[in-house]
């Protein structure tokens, strides 16, 4: 579904690459966390996927589309296949919640009848039916992020990418947003979430890709506690007995032990493959 093959990106004026020979493959219906500190290259990778930036070398194929061959005029069409959620929500401030969600459908040329049918259902999914006629400035951060998610899933994209979706939210609201993303993933959408909040990652049993200095330093199912604050060194222990991650320094993780967080209790069961349908 998402394939990056030896992708490298160096911004003009920079000596170090923002992405350095990154190769990854995300299967359909996967829920993947992309973690790393600020400057690790997460946002650059997201921008590559949304075709805001082009790689200096390497190949990116998203949903069967080789981004090398996308012409400028095709970019909007390509982006409509993606659902994108941002840390700062990026809602249209002069449009109501309903209009923000409807906008994603209008640009795709959907009929007004279809839009009237779809938008209320999507708003119901994210729990914002009551707020439909409010403007973004009248909503809380969590509600705004829900609108952003509603807008991105309204077209029922096969891929949803979320760049630090909880970055501006408190812990409780963050948990709600992640839960919503999981729900969307359960409907069959491939979800890629960037974050630098270890609590979010540790609460779920999902695949985690770790970026550091533009390189992928780990790509494993989670089995431990991530600590990205301070100056941790995330490494991969490749020994067969310890397939998980380990942290250097004071922040120690057990590569085999289940994390002692509430995630162990609330870990998402294997997702059931629900027919891809928003309502």
């Amino acid at each position: 579904m998402i394939l990056l093959d030896h992708v490298t990106k160096i911004y003009p004026g920079d000596k170090k690459p923002a992405l350095d020979d990154v190769t990854l493959h995300i299967e359909p219906n996967e829920f993947v966390f992309l973690i790393g500190k600020s400057g690790a290259g997460k946002s650059t990778l997201m921008k590559m996927i949304t075709k805001e930036e082009d790689p200096d070398s390497g190949k990116i194929i998203i949903g069967g589309i080789d981004l090398d061959y996308i012409k400028r005029r095709h970019i909007p069409h390509y982006r409509r296949r993606l659902g994108v959620v941002f840390q700062d929500f990026k809602l249209l401030p002069r449009r109501t919640v309903y209009e923000n969600v409807a906008f994603a459908l209008e640009i795709a040329g959907m009929s007004t009848r279809e839009i009237r049918h779809t938008v209320p259902k999507v708003l119901e999914l994210v729990g914002l039916t009551e707020q439909a006629n409010k403007f973004p400035s009248q909503l809380s951060g969590g509600q705004q992020q829900r609108v952003s998610i509603a807008r991105s899933v309204a077209r029922q994209p096969k891929i949803l990418i979320a760049d630090e979706p909880t970055g501006n939210l408190d812990k409780l609201t963050s948990a709600e947003i992640i839960s919503l993303l999981q729900k969307i993933n359960d409907f069959g959408t491939t979800v890629l979430v960037t974050t630098h909040e270890e609590a979010i990652v540790n609460n779920l049993d999902k695949r985690v890709i770790t970026l550091k200095n533009g390189r992928i330093v780990a790509d494993q199912k989670t089995h431990g506690i991530y600590k990205l604050d301070g100056d941790p060194e995330v490494i991969i222990d490749n020994s067969p007995k310890a397939p998980g991650f380990a942290l250097k320094g004071d922040q120690i993780i057990s590569s085999t032990a289940k994390p002692k967080t509430k995630s162990s209790k609330t870990a998402t069961p294997k997702k059931s493959r629900v027919k891809r349908k928003v309502a």
């Binding site: 949304t50 805001e52 190949k59 194929i61 949903g63 069967g64 589309i65 080789d66 090398d68 061959y69 996308i70 095709h74 909007p76 069409h77 390509y78 982006r79 409509r80 296949r81 993606l82 994108v84 941002f86 990026k90 809602l91 249209l92 401030p93 002069r94 906008f103 994603a104 209008e106 640009i107 795709a108 040329g109 009929s111 007004t112 807008r151």
Partner: protein, 342 residues
Amino acid sequence: MNNSAAKKATKKNLKTLTKNGRTRKIRSARRIAKYGAINFGRNIWLSTAATLVMTITLVILSVTFVASVVLSETATAMRDKIDITLFFKPGTGKETLEVLKQVITKEPNVKSVETRTSEEEYENFLKENADNELLIETLEDPSMDMRSVMISTMQATMRLKVYDTDNLDPIKNIVASDINFVKNLDETEEPTYDVNQAEIATITRWANIATTGGIALSAIFIVISILVIFNTIRMAIFSRREEIYMEKLVGADSYFIRGPFLVEAQLSGIVSGVLASTICFFGFRFIEPRLSSYGINVSTVANILNSNKLVLVILAMIFAGGLIGSISARLAIQKYLRNPSK
């Protein structure tokens, strides 16, 4: 996946993506118009500012246009006052004057020719002095036969109007060299182009200044006005560049992003066209008698405003407002469509 396979798959996928039916285009056009109108209302302060600037601009353009028409008319009137009079010997007949007229008319600079025989000059003299009863009585007294005396002494005349008063040499040459002219000219009175040389030069200079100045002023005002409007709309779009960026990221086509901005600018243009027409109409009505009292000819503009052409003027103003708004908005938004994050 090898390169050619990837390219083939991408092409196939893109083909499905870019299906862009007629229905979709009609829907998009409707939505663009709707959002343009909604945005005009929701951004009421920016809309008001843009509309006012555009109104002022259109008023300036209209005033400049009216001024240039008035100046042009004044210049034409001044030029029309310039004529060259040639004096022929008393008794020169109508046939001879007709021959002379045909000769001089061949000169391209000659605009019109009017000839009068001695009799006609005398009749005209009587007409001009109709108020002077004593003079008329004396001249028409049959016992004195003043009429014959006057006609035998009055010169026949030829009055020329020319296109270019700076280029009289060809006419002078004809008058000096053509045998018919040489034979019939009254040597006692010189043609007036020599006598009026200074006046002709002065009038010509002022007429040229008036015309050139009108064109230059119009051009300067048009450029300044468009720059002011462009800047106002650019500021309005600059304050909303983040929206443009968001819309691009969500997958909106450039025309779908640009459209509402153009509609907003056109609405501003239309409203300002109506406002400017109203201001100009009543402004002109107010100032017209004052201008006329100074002898300035405003009849052309007054005639337009008093006829059905007034509707055309209002439509032209609305069209001009909409056009200037659209061009400015299109130029201003282009930068953010290319580099939405800048």
